[in-house]
Point group: C2
DNA sequence: CCCCGAAATTAACATTTGTTAATGTCATTT
DNA sequence: AAATGACATTAACAAATGTTAATTTCGGGG
């Protein structure tokens, strides 16, 4: 377990309610997982309850629609948690697929194991609330963007807030995350550029 | 505190990890709140950290956009929790407004008080995870609808899943929650009806 | 070095949505 | 009964998006 978890450890130490020594049993239950670019982390129908912290790379969560097209729900990169929602918060097989867009290094824990650790170390409970709140805050930001911004404005906001990531990901995934087609995103980009140069 | 909390009590008792006797200190910190239709529960800039369980009525959470228009983030009705997100999960003044669309009865607890109760009764911690997970699941469903469905399909889905509520709320709020204008929702309804009668 | 395939762009057209404004509807008030 | 105000519908036009298909770009594999 003596892997490169510096970033995660730093993150957790900011939770001042949890002392570093408390965290030993937690890290004992984690393992490092590496994925190659293009590799699937969680399959549709998968029942594993995985929670992971991304140290490197990008993971895309997407749904396969009725017509066979894919819809990207979100992208997660370094410093973010990724969780199999359906299995963890609804206790049912995953409707979504999680796939690495780049080579990925992450620290993984099985949620059932995490719960066992939490039962025996109640002082660690704030950790659970912490990542649930992180994911909820992100989800609510996303909803806010959908109801308050146009597709073009959502793209501009994404460029500002996560421009580095946008440049590492094929546009078609950005498009479906914004709720538009790749063709439409291409036109949006053209519109922005033509306005910017005048 | 001996108010009509049957539904909330029933709900919490389904969390088998928490025994009814454990819950006494929790309910001691709650109070019943009533709102008239049209009354504001949380104002923009408000810093109160409120968490409430809706026993009756509907509350709308919305943002005021740059142009002055309002964008409905979501509607909550009987049996759902409502939380001031910005103050609770980001610890900053609320960007959103929460307003009753009908006369409302709810059970309220201040989140700081809840945290104090949880510190002294660690066995109640699952409650926190429980409502965080509920709200996260709802938020993710909403995102999924935005990336996989058209406005018309989102409206049909809403009719199916919460048709009772749709009929209790002015269409303009439904429209902005779906990410479209009231004019567009009216056309969507017309399209659905004309197709349905042929 | 060329070929291939995936991705992005562009084009053309249909559909949908946004915008503004007028009209209709309905409940409440006066 | 008339007037008011909020909401929904409709109309007309502009703008954006969806769809399909052709074209271009670009990097990797042979």
């Amino acid at each position: 377990m003596a892997v490169s978890m510096e970033t995660l450890q730093n993150l957790l130490q900011q939770l001042n309610t949890v002392s570093p020594s408390d965290m030993a049993p937690l890290f004992a239950a984690t393992r490092q997982v590496k994925l190659d670019a293009g590799e699937t982390y969680i399959r549709e129908g998968d029942s594993a309850r995985k929670l992971a912290y991304l140290e490197k790379g990008i993971i895309r969560a997407y749904a396969v629609m009725n017509n066979g097209d894919e819809a990207t729900l979100f992208l997660r990169c370094e410093g973010q948690f990724i969780a199999s929602h359906d299995t963890i918060i609804r206790q049912r097989p995953s409707r979504f697929i999680y796939r690495a867009l780049e080579d990925v290094i992450m620290v993984e824990i099985d949620y059932d194991q995490l719960e066992a650790v939490l039962r025996e170390n109640p002082r660690l409970e704030p950790l659970r609330s912490y990542f649930l709140q992180l994911m909820l805050a992100e989800a609510l930001d996303s909803i806010e963007a959908f109801v308050t911004l146009s597709p073009e404005e959502r793209y501009l906001q994404l460029l500002e807030s996560r421009g580095d990531m946008v440049n590492r990901v094929p546009d078609k995934y950005i498009a479906s995350m914004l709720g538009v087609t790749p063709v439409s995103l291409s036109r949006i980009r053209k519109r922005i550029h033509s306005r910017g140069k005048q």
